[in-house]
C-alpha cells in the first residue's frame, strides 16, 4: 500500500492577522502544518500499521507545495513516521486550489499511489476544494470529510463514513481514490487496514507527536525537491485574491447580572424572545 499525503504550511491560526495595503502581512508569522493535513498524515500512518507502535507495511510519501522553508514542516511530518517527502518549489501564496490540484496530479502520475489523503481544508484559505478537484482531474472516486476509513483486506476498496449535513453517510470507493479527512478521523477506532489490523486495534485519540527517535530518524529521510516546471505544470491560477480586508468587528455588549435581567433584555430590548 502506497499512500500519498499532503502537508501544507499555514500561519499559526492563533496569531492576529496584520492587514497592510489591502493584503495580509505574514512577515512575522510562525508556520505550522495545517491541522487537517496532520490528521491526514496520522490516517496514512495508521493505514500502514499493524497497531499502535506495531510493525509497518507500506509506504507513506508526503508532498508539499511551497517555498524551501516548508522542508521544516515536512521534517516534522517525517518525524511522525512518514517515509519520505517531495517538496514542489512554488510561491504557495500565489497558487489557487486548481493549480495545487494540477501539481498534485503530476506528482500522482509519477508516484502512482494507491490512495491520496488530504486534510478536508486548510485553515488559512478555508476553500475545501483541492481533494475534490484532484479526484476530478484524475477521474478517481473521492471520499470527502471522513470520520472513519477501513481499507479492505484485498487492498482494492475503502469503506468510509463521511460527516454530512443530515448525519453520517457510509460510502465505499474503489482504489485508487482520493480521501479527505475531518476531525473524527483521529478517533480510537476510526482507521483500520484490514490487511494489517484486527477490529480490536485501538489508537490514541489524537494525532501522534514526533518522538526523539522519530526526529533523529527524520534527519536521514529523503526530501526530494522538484520544480513546478519539471512537473510540466503551469502554476497560473484561475482564482486571484484582489484584496484582503479585516471583517467588521462586533462591539462587545453588556454584562448582565442575573438570568432575570437577561430575559428582560432579550424580550424588551433585543426583542428576540
Amino acid at each position: 500500500m502506497k499512500i500519498l499525503v499532503t502537508c501544507k504550511r499555514v500561519p499559526n491560526p492563533e496569531q492576529k492577522l496584520k492587514f497592510a495595503g489591502g493584503g495580509i502581512d505574514l512577515g512575522a508569522a510562525t508556520w505550522q502544518v495545517n491541522t487537517f493535513d496532520e490528521y491526514a498524515v496520522e490516517t496514512a500512518l495508521r493505514l500502514t500499521e499493524k497497531g499502535k507502535g506495531g510493525e509497518r507495511s507500506g509506504e507513506v510519501v508526503v508532498v508539499a507545495v511551497g517555498p524551501k522553508d516548508v522542508s521544516q514542516q515536512m521534517r516534522g511530518v517525517l518525524a511522525m513516521g512518514a517515509d519520505r517527502g517531495i517538496l514542489v518549489g512554488a510561491e504557495d501564496a500565489a497558487l489557487d486550489a486548481d493549480a495545487v490540484a494540477r501539481i498534485l496530479r503530476a506528482v500522482v502520475d509519477r508516484e502512482k499511489p494507491d490512495v491520496v489523503i488530504l486534510g478536508k481544508q486548510t485553515v488559512d484559505g478555508d476553500s475545501n476544494q483541492v481533494g475534490q478537484i484532484l479526484a476530478g482531474l484524475l477521474n478517481w472516486p473521492q471520499a470527502t470529510f471522513l470520520a472513519s476509513v477501513r481499507l479492505a483486506a484485498d487492498g482494492k476498496s475503502a469503506t468510509v463514513t463521511r460527516e454530512i449535513d443530515a448525519g453520517t453517510e457510509e460510502k465505499r470507493v474503489r482504489l485508487p481514490a482520493v480521501l479527505t479527512v475531518d476531525l473524527r478521523i483521529i478517533g480510537k477506532k476510526a482507521v483500520r487496514n484490514e490487511a494489517l489490523a484486527g477490529p480490536e486495534v485501538e489508537w490514541e485519540e489524537t494525532q501522534r507527536y514526533a518522538s526523539l527517535k522519530g526526529i533523529m530518524a527524520a534527519k536521514k529521510k529523503e526530501i526530494k525537491e522538484i520544480t513546478v516546471a519539471e512537473l510540466g505544470v503551469s502554476p497560473a491560477p484561475l482564482m486571484k485574491v484582489v484584496s484582503y480586508q479585516a471583517p467588521p468587528t462586533r462591539k462587545a455588549g453588556v454584562k448582565v447580572s442575573s438570568v432575570e435581567e437577561l430575559v428582560q433584555k432579550l424580550h424588551n430590548e433585543a426583542k428576540v424572545i
Partner: protein
C-alpha cells in the same frame, strides 16, 4: 458566455430550502452577466423537485434516472458540468452544504473552471467576497476562465422569491453513468424534529464546559422551548459529547440566527467564525475573561448549572404571561 446554472439539492417533496439562497446569488450573478438562471435537479424521481425549482428559475434541467438515487460526486459532478455546457452558461452556483462542498469543486475540475468557496457577496461578473482565515479576513477574489464556479454561504443570501411565471422544465439526457466503483452503502440520518442549524431562528450551543454529553439534555430543553436548533463547539464534538454534525464553526456549520446562545463555550477563533454573524449573541460562561464575551451582546458570568434551569424557568414564566 452568459447565464448561470444553479445546482438545486432535492428532497422527496421539492428542492432543499438550503438551495434557495443559491438561487438568489445566481440571480444576482446572472444580472451582472446579462443572462438567465437555469436550475438543475438530479436524482431518481425528481419530478416534484423539478416543478418546485421551476417556481424560482426561468429554466430547469432535470436529470432523472434510477441510477442517480444515491447522490455521488462521481455521477453528479459530470451532469452539473453537462448542464453548464448544454445551456452555454458562464457560471455554476450552489450552496456550500456538505453536498455542495463535495460536488462543486469536482464539477469545477471537469469544467476547467476556477472556483470561489463560501461566497458571501457577488461583486461583479467574476468577482466575489468570501471569508478566509476562520473569518478573520475577508477576501475579494476574481475568477478567470470562460466558466466560473461558486458555492455560496446559505446564511448570507436571502431565500429566492417565486417568479410570477414558473419556468420550463426540460429533461436532461443522462447517458452513460460511471460511478467509478463508488457507492453509498448506508445513510445514517440524525433524527431530529428541530429546525436545520443553518436555518433556525434560535441556536443554543454548548461547549467543552458542559463536561459530558448527558448534560446537553438541559440545553435541548432550552432549545425546544425557544423552537431552535442545538449546536456545539468543536471542543465539545471533539470530546465526543455530541455528534459532529452539531458543530458550529470554521470547520463545521456556519449559522446566523436571530438569537445565538453560547453556553460554556470559551469562544475560540474557529468557533467565532461560525456564529459571529448572528443578530443577537448571548454568552453564558463562568470565566469572565472568556473571549466569547468580546462578541456577545449580553454576557452572563456564571456556571451553566446555575444559569440554564433558571433561564428555562424564566422564559416559561415570560411565555405564560405573554
Amino acid at each position: 458566455m452568459a447565464g448561470v446554472v444553479v445546482f438545486c439539492e432535492t428532497t422527496e417533496k421539492g428542492i432543499r430550502s438550503a438551495s434557495l439562497p443559491a438561487l438568489t446569488a445566481a440571480g444576482q450573478l446572472a444580472q451582472q452577466q446579462g443572462g438567465t438562471v437555469t436550475a438543475v435537479v438530479i436524482g431518481a424521481g425528481v419530478g416534484a423537485a423539478a416543478q418546485d425549482a421551476a417556481r424560482y428559475a426561468a429554466k430547469v434541467i432535470a436529470y432523472d434516472d434510477p441510477r442517480l438515487a444515491a447522490p455521488l460526486a462521481e455521477t453528479y459532478a459530470p451532469l452539473l458540468a453537462d448542464a453548464v455546457k448544454r445551456s452555454g452558461a458562464g457560471a455554476l452556483v450552489g450552496t456550500a452544504t456538505s453536498t455542495g462542498k463535495d460536488f462543486l469543486p469536482r464539477a469545477a475540475a471537469l469544467l476547467g473552471a476556477g472556483m470561489a468557496s463560501d461566497v458571501i457577496a457577488v461583486l461583479g461578473t467574476n468577482r466575489f467576497r468570501r471569508p478566509a482565515y476562520a473569518g478573520n479576513a475577508l477576501e475579494e477574489i476574481e475568477l478567470g476562465g470562460a466558466v466560473i464556479v461558486a458555492s455560496v454561504r446559505q446564511t448570507e443570501f436571502p431565500p429566492a422569491a417565486p417568479l410570477a411565471t414558473p419556468g420550463a422544465v426540460e429533461n436532461g439526457t443522462v447517458g452513460n453513468l460511471d460511478a467509478l466503483g463508488a457507492e453509498v452503502v448506508a445513510l445514517h440520518a440524525t433524527k431530529t424534529v428541530r429546525p436545520d442549524l443553518g436555518e433556525a431562528k434560535v441556536v443554543v450551543s454548548g461547549g467543552r464546559g458542559m463536561k459530558a454529553g448527558e448534560n446537553f439534555k438541559i440545553l435541548e430543553q432550552l432549545t425546544d422551548l425557544l423552537g431552535g436548533a442545538l449546536g456545539a463547539s468543536r471542543a465539545a464534538c471533539d470530546a465526543g459529547m455530541v455528534p459532529n454534525d452539531l458543530q458550529v464553526g470554521q470547520t463545521g456549520k456556519v449559522v446566523a440566527p436571530q438569537l445565538y446562545i453560547a453556553v460554556a463555550i470559551s469562544g475560540a477563533i474557529q468557533h467565532l467564525a461560525g456564529m459571529k454573524g448572528s443578530k443577537v449573541i448571548v454568552a453564558i460562561n463562568k470565566d469572565a475573561e472568556a473571549p466569547i464575551f468580546q462578541v456577545a451582546d449580553y454576557g452572563l458570568v456564571t456556571t451553566w448549572e446555575a444559569a440554564i434551569p433558571a433561564l428555562i424557568a424564566e422564559i416559561k414564566k415570560l411565555k405564560a404571561s405573554g
